[in-house]
């Protein structure tokens, strides 16, 4: 499958990344290699074979609806680059 500039731009946008100049050429080549590698799977005839989604046979791994104390507010916030005592702080999302 050919990886076009449009595909790179689209995926980069979704991942919030930017590729320009040589970076873009390189990532195009890398992505093409990855896709070609995976494409080898298409050689296998899977006619009539149910898709396998999960590797384990486990089903219904559920938990009871029971509250258990976890971390404190201070612990929740401490690793964030910017926060006050109540909230995570990030760059303004909405333009006024």
């Amino acid at each position: 499958m050919e990886i076009t500039d449009e595909i790179v731009d689209h995926i980069a946008h979704l991942a919030r990344l930017e590729f320009n100049g040589d970076d873009k050429v390189n990532i195009k080549k890398d992505l093409s290699n990855i896709i070609d590698f995976i494409d080898q799977l298409n050689a296998v005839d899977t006619e009539g074979v149910e898709p396998l989604i999960f590797m384990s046979d486990a089903i219904n791994v559920l938990r009871e609806d029971k509250f258990e104390p976890s971390i404190t507010q201070a612990e929740a916030l401490k690793n964030a680059p910017n926060h006050d005592s109540d909230y995570f702080k990030i760059a303004k999302v909405l333009k006024k």
């Binding site: 559920l62 609806d65 916030l77 303004k92």
Partner: protein, 484 residues
């Protein structure tokens, strides 16, 4: 622009609704931190909710039960096998960078919600699906002038999303549909249905087409309507906007629009160029779910009576008016109280009148719910039966016995006996009283006899006074007419 009915009637609105309902579980969908509205910010969180690397979700069994109950209430098929999916997008209040939802295998498929159409007739709105997912956190834009603040208490709160087919045809039908869904989740006690707090949210997909057209018009999605009334207003606004655009030959865009409740208008939120590509794929961290017939049967047995079934029972079997049936089934607790009353009396209309009259106004003036009402359904039924037996008048029951019922535990009959309020139906005694009244008020008696009918009230008053309010008014008035 005001549209004439003539232009308006050329077009057919087509509406589909997506309703998100927050489940009334104790804990989150995939982790055991608290699901609670109104806690201090970022206190109902855990490493899973925060999306820390290496954490693994684990499904809350209660969410599955709740979703199945909603499916059963809507006549859906319950999927025997299902799994979860990742919906990928970046937004600051979505810490993992994806939402765990269901894509190809929703827990419920098909089904319907029965509503009233604009003419008041029953109409079935088909459901596409009901699936389970999680809520995002909250972004707060108006506290800090320089930053957006993030509160992740809501992140991971379990949701069900109820998706209708585009079978709703007017803003009134949409209003009735959301009202019905809210009533159902409240009857099932799986969601509190509070739209102001966002525990029930509605997105509307709206398009219009010429009547008789085969192809739907350009569709927009409207969000941010925090009351059922606003759902109706937003849809009405959009229908109008679409028709005006089509009439003026302007192009409409498929886009997401935001409703502004103050102005009553909608504005574009996301442009179509930035259309999202969610790259769904099966969620590898949650194992598939299998639901047995036994499990579904067990949940079915736990289901409360539902408003639709109660409504039919009241109108078809009990002979109540559609208005009464509507009022009685509006809230589950009221309906259940009514169900209890009619175990003890066959006077269904009387039971409805007492419940929606004296009882309801007591609840309102004391700002309490029927759960805290001090009088048992059996004692209210006793009061109704006492009136029906002719032992007390409705007025006396309402003004004197009802307040006494509220105070203690005596039955209506015991209260009436103790206070000597039982009516006198004894014809001889009433005759004596009437004759005494005639004798003591000769002038009024003469005038009444000569046709001055309005003096009936005066004479009745005297009779009631003499009998200390115990004479049965019907017998007394008949006696007065018989004796002149």
């Amino acid at each position: 622009m005001e549209l004439s009915d003539e232009i308006r009637n050329k077009y057919q609105p087509v509406i589909g609704l997506e309703i998100h309902a927050q489940m009334l579980t104790n804990t989150k969908a995939y982790s055991n931190d608290k699901n609670e509205y109104g806690s201090p910010p970022n206190t109902n969180v855990s490493p899973i909710t925060l999306g820390h690397p290496g954490t693994l979700p684990k499904m809350n069994s209660k969410t599955i039960d709740f979703a199945i109950k909603m499916g059963l209430a809507c006549d859906c098929d319950i999927s025997p096998e299902q799994h979860f999916a990742r919906k990928n997008y970046f937004y600051p209040d979505l810490p993992k960078g994806y939402q765990i939802t269901q894509d190809t295998t929703p827990i419920c498929t098909g089904g319907k919600i029965v509503i009233k159409d604009d003419e008041g007739n029953d109409k079935s709105i088909a459901l596409t699906r009901i699936h389970m997912e999680e809520d995002a956190g909250k972004s707060i834009h108006d506290i800090d002038p320089f930053n957006t603040l993030i509160d992740l208490n809501r992140a991971g709160v379990p949701l069900i999303e109820i998706v209708s087919e585009p079978e709703i045809r007017s803003s009134q039908e949409a209003y009735n549909y959301v009202t019905e869904v809210r009533k159902l989740v409240r009857y099932l006690e799986i969601c509190d249905g509070n739209m102001e707090e966002g525990s029930l949210r509605c997105d509307a997909n709206i398009s219009v087409m010429l009547k008789g057209a085969k192809k739907f018009g350009v569709r927009v999605e409207v969000k941010n309507m925090n009351s059922i009334r606003n759902v109706q207003r937003a849809i009405e606004y959009e229908i109008n906007r679409h028709i005006v655009a089509i009439e003026n030959g302007e192009e409409l865009y498929q886009e997401t629009r935001n409703f502004d409740a103050l102005k009553g208008t909608t504005t574009a939120m996301r442009s179509k160029e930035a259309a999202n590509d969610y790259r769904f794929f099966p969620e590898p961290d949650l194992q598939p779910i299998k639901i047995t017939t036994e499990k579904v049967q067990k949940l079915k047995a736990e289901m409360p009576p539902l408003p639709g079934a109660l409504y039919s029972k009241y109108t078809n079997q009990l002979g109540l008016s559609s208005y009464d049936a509507q009022l009685l089934t509006d809230q589950k607790d009221i309906a259940l109280y009514f169900e209890s009353i009619i175990e003890f009396t066959k006077n269904y209309k009387g039971a409805a009148n007492w419940l929606m009259g004296d009882v309801k106004s007591y609840l309102n003036s004391n700002a309490i719910s029927i759960k805290d009402f001090p009088v048992s359904a059996e004692r209210i039924a006793g009061l109704i039966n006492l009136i029906d037996s002719g032992a007390v008048s409705h007025n006396l029951a309402s003004q004197k016995i009802f307040p006494e019922l509220l105070k203690g535990n005596d039955s209506a009959e015991e209260i009436a006996k103790k206070n000597d309020w039982l009516q006198n139906n004894n014809a001889d005694e009433i005759k004596d009283i009437v004759l005494t009244v005639f004798k003591e008020n000769p002038e009024e008696f003469e005038r009444f006899k000569n046709g001055e009918k309005k003096l009936m009230g005066f004479l009745m008053g005297k009779v009631m006074q003499k009998s200390k309010g115990k004479a049965d008014p019907k017998s007394a008035s008949k006696m007065i007419n018989d004796l002149i």
